[in-house]
Amino acid sequence: MTISFRKTASRLMLSAALVGIGLTAASAETLRWARVGDALTLDPHSANEGPTSTLLHHIYETLVRRNTDGSLAPRLATEWFIHPDDPTVWVFKLREGVKFHDGADFTAEDVVASVTRVTSETSDFKGLHTAVAGAEAVDDYTVHIKMSGPSPLYVQNLTNFFIMDKGWIEANGVEAPQDFKAGEEKFTVRNTNGTGPYTLVERDPEVRTVLAVNPNHWDAAPQVTEIIYTPIKEAATRVAALLSGEVDFVQDVPVQDIERLMATPGIAVSTGAENRTIFFSYDMNSDSLISLPGDNPFKKPQVREAMALALDRDAIRQVVMRGQSVPGAQNVPPFVNGYDPALDAYSAPDYERAKALMAEAGYPDGFSVDLNCPNDRYINDEAICQAFVGMLGRIGIKANLVSQSRTIHFPAIQNGQVDFYLLGWGVPTFDSQYVFDFLVHSPVDGRGGWNGSRYYNTELDAKIASLATETDLEKRNATIAEIWKTIQEDRVFLMVHNQLLAYAAKDNINIAVHPENQPSMTTVTFK
């Protein structure tokens, strides 16, 4: 091997690029960006995972993008609608004059190739595209995506669907995403060719990734011209790096450090609601619990109500979350279709009444049960569980906290091996149907995969199924409201709160919190 000073070389290339840009952009600004984890891969269809999509949005682009209020905006597609003659066909009009980083023109064929790729067997996003029957390039800038049935909300699934270049796919033999069984790395894992606002300069997984602004991008030039992305796993180290000035922007700020960072001169913190609810749920169907053989108190409505009365959401918000949460009772974020402020209203804890209900249900002395909790997934997940254990203790329920890694916690929920658990849920489609499909529908017909409450309501199942094909939005919204009413009456979920996100950065940097925690550096401005 020869001696290669890769870094130096890339620096030189970069500075050469920056000199070129310097003529057009006001100034060359580097943003050093730290968050808890790295993008797992640069393959656009290989990992349906937050940080991966966040980084990829800078390199690749999607047909549509989501505004911070949840509405859709054009990106590579300028227009989209359901075909007037065929409710099973989605029509996309594409942006003209867009070029990939390698200079190839962006056309309808690229979209078709990308659809084929994202629906392939090894794609991690194929769950979002199960209704797709095929795609067809009608002309250079029009694409028809044929669905297996009416899919009025399909376009909502496209906000993380990245478009690749057909020629590049074929030239590099990357027609399908990474297949682990094949035992060889795909070219796409570390090489990119998108249409996005930044190009990849350097990639050292889990160490640093450097992006430079794409001078040929179709949209307005961003102020940030260079991004140095560094994952820092330990929260204390991450905060220390910002305090010591080694990074400019920290995306995952521990809630307890917000105050300190706000008080630090030169650092500003912005917070905003995240598209994620945190809730408890319980097996309300089985006759016998795993941790309480021969009995299931959760079947009793009084017990579920008593537990709701024991949950002191304000205390959790105040102490555990340091005020960084929005407590609520409806298990859906406020900007999602189907949210109802009336249903979201919660009552203050009432331990006397809760105890009375417990007695009424036949548990005057309470009972003992396991509470399963992840300890590495949500903000202060373990502390929330711990706090609830204490509150339940006051009404006689002895909850044994089983806190585990998400790699054990999630499969246990999916396999019905937990009685009582904490879970968080994001709604990428911004529609309640997504919640119903996964959490409420009984586990049949490919739905109800996360229905850990074993809630089984055939009448409701029918209503949920109808939502997928109902094209009359008003009627559909009415059904959604009905479903929510039943869910709340039956107390399927014991909702705790919506998470808030906190971004901390040097105070000369303007950066808005993104509800899906996918900030784009193109929106960053400098004071």
């Binding site: 450090d257 555990v320 502390a383 254990v389 006051r394 909850a399 044994n400």
Partner: protein
């Protein structure tokens, strides 16, 4: 009485009386151990009873009234409203229990293996010492992690909370026995060749008897030293494992778990959550280590 006087007059006791470091260390260690044992009687709160905690008491600074409840705690409270002082007492109880049990486990295992190896010799000795070699150079942290892995798979979830402490004990103990085995084997080999043991063998004394009456008393000195240092190591190992997320459950925090929790609040101004448990851990481990040091020198007649 006479015996007491003799003990007071013994070399060890004399050396102890003339080592201010040893005296201070012993007093500190004893104080911590005593208050840990008596925690249920002297702690103002029971931090292990979740029902008794009021979340609103959380993050109360030391000696200041809580802004919501007005309660005052000597050393403040943690993020769950646990009284830090009580939590330290109860946490030290867990840490000490884990430490002592792990060391006793390692000691019994190590002594048995060491004696067996020395006594039987031959291939038994070779095999056992080979295992010890492997164990010694295979990182103890990984061993503990692996044992945790097994336990997680084998023990049903319902018992995990109670089992966590025992798993810790086995994990730490298993990664610590080699030291004992080596010292005991070495000492036993020396003793074995000595005349009195040879003589005892000749007159047909039972091997177990010879081991108990002749060999064991002679190796107790170095074993005690290793055990003392091992205790400190075990307490630290427990803290480290809990940092890696495989320690005791957070509802029954040990000193190490308290520090792990407190570490999250290092930059946020709640310094007391990490400071006091750290001081307690430092005081405990340091005093035990100093005692071990002193004991090593005191038991080594050639170093007088």
């Amino acid at each position: 009485m006479n015996r007491l006087a003799r003990a007071w007059d013994s070399d060890i006791a004399w050396s102890f009386r003339h080592s201010p470091v040893a005296i201070v260390a012993a007093v500190v260690a004893l104080l911590i151990i005593l208050s840990a044992v008596l925690a249920p009687w002297i702690a103002p709160h029971d931090p292990f009873n979740p029902a008794s905690l009021n979340l609103m008491d959380g993050f109360t600074p030391p000696m200041e009234p809580n802004q919501f409840t007005g309660n005052v705690y000597w050393l403040g409270t943690d993020n769950q409203g646990r009284d830090i002082f009580s939590a330290i007492l109860y946490g030290a109880r867990i840490s000490l229990f884990v430490g002592f049990s792990a060391v006793i486990f390692a000691m019994v295992l190590g002594i048995s293996i060491g004696l067996l190896a020395a006594w039987r010799g031959g291939w038994v000795d070779s095999l056992l010492m080979r295992i010890a070699d492997v164990q010694l150079s295979f990182p103890s942290i990984l061993i503990a992690l692996l044992i945790f892995g097994i336990a997680r798979g084998v023990i049903p979830p319902a018992y995990r909370e109670e089992m966590a402490i025992w798993v810790l004990i086995v994990a730490i103990g298993l990664s610590d026995w080699v030291q004992f085995a080596r010292v005991v084997r070495g000492a036993a080999l020396v003793e074995k060749s000595k005349e009195y043991v040879q003589a005892a063998r000749l007159v047909g004394a039972h091997p177990a008897r010879i081991v108990l009456t002749h060999i064991l008393p002679n190796v107790m000195g170095p074993v005690l030293v290793i055990a003392t240092i091992g205790l400190a190591l075990a307490i630290i190992a427990e803290a480290t494992l809990s940092f890696l997320g495989v320690g005791v459950p957070p509802t029954q925090p040990s000193l190490g778990t308290l520090i792990r929790i407190g570490q999250g609040f290092l930059f946020s101004g709640e310094w007391w959550i990490i400071l006091f448990p750290s001081i307690a851990l430092l005081a405990l481990a340091l005093s035990v280590n100093l005692l071990g040091d002193w004991l090593r020198d005191a038991l080594n007649p050639r170093l007088k």
